[in-house]
Amino acid sequence: MNKKSKVVRYNKWGYIFLIPFIVTYVVFQLVPLVSTVYNSFFENYRSGLTQIGPNFVGLQNYVTIIQNGDLPTYFANTMIMWVMCFVPQIIISLLLGAWFTDPSLRLKCQQFFKTVIYLPNLIMASAFAMLFFTLFADSGPINSMLMQIGVLDEAYKFMSNVWSVRTLIATMNCLMWFGNTTILLMAGMMGIDTSLFEAAQVDGATATQIFYRITLPLLKPILVYVMITSLIGGLQLFDVPQILTNGTGDPMRSSMTLIMYLNKHLYSKNFGLGGALSVILFIVTGILSLIVYKITVKEED
């Protein structure tokens, strides 16, 4: 009896230790979330010097933002740049991960290579974008290098071509994230029972066969995890295109992403449309997060 009450007395500390987290989360995440949703049902913006609203308009903001044509375009831009970044990223990461974990290759300087490929992940994205902007400027070092070695006759205008801007953005993100993906995939590959590889080798399987028949299928859960988390990150694409294009998403808003669009509404204080956009993004990332949660919990058990 006495012992039990003592245990209960200890366990109330579980609640006490949770207080800071819960209070902070409720104040700075949940309350803002609720008020964002609330805002999305009101017409509330500035037109010149006159303040319009807030007036309750129901789902009108959602209809406006979906029908005025910008949202689908920006969603497509975001997705195009994500695919351009993710496909090379996952191929390189799988390849490097397979090489690093292959015992028969015995690669030297692994620590050095891992350090180097992870490095871009820690770089300030805005400074990295600014760096690329100056390097790829019309009179920047890349153009002068390419002209010096005779690849180009005159400067290529990287910043005025739809696909070169998108490629630059995708390249920067790919560089920043492939190291992280490689290390995650490596952990997954090292978790695979080595006796499976040995058995396959005894049966005469080649390295390629082992990779496709054993490594890839066993890696599927972690691959899905990497893909969905990358997709969630891809939907948040902001710093790099914002700085590279100075917030315009030029040329012709072809590199304008969803969060840049949201940022515009936040700056112009159009809380109605901004709210509707936030809620849409919340629902999409919420669904994706649920999938990640399911995978994580399955791995836990």
Partner: protein
Amino acid sequence: MAANNSKAGQTDKCASVHVRRVIAYIVLILISFLCLFWFYVLFINATRSNAELGGGFTPVPSNHFIENWTNLKNGTLPIFNGMLNSLIISVLTATLATYFSTMTAYAIHAYQFKAKKFMFTFILMVMMIPTQVTALGFIQLIGKMGLDNTAIPLIVPAIASPAVFFYMKQYMDSTLPLSLIEAARIDGSGEFKTFNQIVLPLMKPAIAVQAIFSFVASWNNYFTPALVLHEDKKKTLPILIAQLRAADWLKFDMGQVYMMIAFSIFPVIIVYLILSRHIVSGVTLGSVKG
């Protein structure tokens, strides 16, 4: 006959391993080059004067490093303020995030209570929700609280960092035996004291890794600070970079522009190179186990 065959197969395999190893090294060197090239050019260009930069690229550094630095320091951008603001915000964010996430993880790890499972599930589910989707309400809230244009809304929310929590929980599962806490209780240590004096020191390796990650994330953060901070003196480095981009940059001394970028990037690179061993091995611990 059979022995002969397998011997031929053996040499074949050796040759193929050799070829694969050569390919692997070539690709790795190429990729490492792609990762480092930009920072090399940045370093070179930060040492060159505006006139030299106008004359095209050369791979050797020049001697205007100090000059660019002095010009930048005495220029219009408040970079020292920016650095100081970034530093204060990042250090406090890292401290709060690691201390309170460890505390949250400890609550879930060491105690049995009714809402335990619910809380754990809840935190895991919200872990991936980006802060951008609640930014609108967040800005309105801090406006009402009178915290607009202060560093507080960039620091205090770090107390609730689900991703750091998850990492700490994983680490505790593998290294913190409940019997130890039990022993501390028998010795008469209070729960809060046990946490601070026994659990925290044991968690040092995990705290170090997460402190670095939280610091870097906060140091690099642009979206929220740009919405919260308006006064030049209070701005952080990423906002100053954005300002540099928005200015008519052709009028700028390009040597200074490169110096400014170098100034925001190289401190992190240097710290990373010193601590890289711990960082790279620390990445995987907080994610799914393979």
